[in-house]
């Protein structure tokens, strides 16, 4: 009973959280040493040199610069070490390779909506398989939220207006807290959910047990036709627009001479702000869909375009 109150007695539950725990331990030890030294010295001096105590006060240290230089450089070197350590772990945490199991997360006041590629959606909960990295693509519909799983030592803000990818991986099955860590209004403290990590077999069973809604990509395909995208991008209309088959993940040459990789963010930006990155040798004709599609519809469109990646044009 008592043990569970000891901070970090339970180690982090993902490959990176082990590194973070180690870093935390390192920081704790270093600070404890400094603190102990300092308190010892202060207590010692206070006791020995209290007024009226006949301690030897001759030969005071007058020249101070070499003391100053030595503790300046000592603290500098320690800090440098901590900086490098912290930074290297940080880069691993936020590494987000593509081509993984993508789950969409939409944050809004005051709930987390998550959506699996197969169309299974959840509210304030997220089921994931253990032992396998999962890539989250997160978007916010209103204000800034922050996706925080303490057990994984992982957190990232979800800023409206852009996608944020985040990779999570859990080692052990169980139920873990999901918090919103960036203040977002009235029910900020109730914007909490649960991460349910399951064995892969259980997870696939869970997926199939969910209400069989249509997969995201096919819903996206329907939207694609409803919104009239297929008129130009379908290749049969009078207006010539870039074909989308096999687009996802490939480099795209732009009219200003640069190239971008067609990732989630690029596709999203192209739907909302089509003329900011025009594909080379095409006219900037596409209208903006800003305000015409919701974040959730956008996610479906992106999923649809991604699903075309396999088709070769």
């Amino acid at each position: 009973m008592w043990r569970q109150w000891i901070p970090f007695w339970q180690p982090g539950l993902s490959p990176h959280s082990g590194d973070v725990d180690l870093l935390f331990a390192g920081l704790l030890i270093a600070s404890a040493l400094v603190l102990a030294l300092l308190f010892f010295l202060v207590a010692l001096f206070c006791a020995r040199y209290r007024a009226g105590n006949p301690a030897d006060r001759s030969h005071r240290v007058k020249k101070s610069w070499h003391w100053e230089v030595s503790w300046t450089s000592a603290s500098f070197v320690c800090f440098l070490g901590l900086f490098v350590w912290g930074a290297s772990v940080y880069f691993q945490i936020y590494r987000t390779p593509a081509d993984e199991h993508d789950i969409f997360v939409v944050a809004k006041q005051w709930m987390w909506k998550t959506q699996h590629p197969g169309g299974q959606s959840e509210i304030d909960a997220l089921h994931i398989p253990v032992g396998r990295p999962v890539r989250l693509v997160m978007a916010s519909q209103d204000v800034i939220h922050s996706f925080f799983i303490p057990a994984l030592r992982l957190k990232h803000d979800v800023v409206p207006g852009r996608y944020q990818a985040l990779e999570i991986e859990v080692d052990k099955p169980g139920h873990y807290h999901l918090f919103c860590a960036e203040y977002c209004g009235t029910d900020h403290s109730r914007m909490i959910g649960e991460i349910v990590a399951m064995e892969p077999a259980d997870f696939s069973r869970w997926l199939t047990e969910q209400a069989p809604s249509s997969p995201l990509a096919s819903e996206g395909g329907q939207l694609f036709r409803e919104l009239g995208c297929s008129g130009c991008h379908g290749g049969r209309g009078a207006i010539r627009a870039p074909p989308l088959d096999g687009l996802y993940g490939k480099p795209v040459p732009l009219s200003d001479g640069s190239t971008v990789i067609a990732d989630d963010r690029y596709i999203r930006d192209s739907i909302l702000m089509p003329r900011s990155q025009v594909v080379a040798s095409y006219e900037p004709l596409m209208p903006s869909f800003e305000g015409k599609v919701s974040e959730e519809q956008l996610l479906r469109l992106v999923a649809y375009i991604k699903s075309l990646a396999g088709h070769s044009s």
């Binding site: 003329r275 900011s276 903006s288």
Partner: protein
Amino acid sequence: MWVFIATEVLLFGGLILAYFVYRHAFPQGFAEGSRHTEIVIGTANTAVLLTSSFLVAWAVEIFSPATTRIVTWLLVGAACLGLVFIALKGIEYSREYDEHLVPGIDFQFAGPLANGVQLFFIFYFIATAIHALHMLIGICLLVTLATICRRAPTTRHHTALHSAALYWHFVDVVWIFLFALIYLPGRSS
């Protein structure tokens, strides 16, 4: 006084950072927005301000009990040029209003670059409004000093004049940069 000017530099600094960030994000929108500003008025206003600054510098240079009359006139002249600036600015604002380019009140801009243009005009109005506010304060200062100088100029007034002049020149410098940032981009294409 220079400490105060350092404060002012950072006040505009925040705005300029916002400008650069968004110009970086929307290069074409900003160029497009800039093309919709009145460069003739902008240029005329720059010339007006530079001249006004020159008059004030002149007044500071020759300040002495023997020259009160001319100093007073120089200051009044500079203040009048300041008013001309404000008047031209007013004409410019009203034209932009007619063209539906005032974000938040009446903004209509069709086309793909609407977002960038809107951000540009937000920046334009905030920056020029703050600048115009500084101009008004400066004009008041100049007029006050002109009245004082006419009556009894002393060395203390010289210091006051000096500080006011610094302020006026600073407002001028801010305008020089605003001019380059607001009116000039996108002219060549």
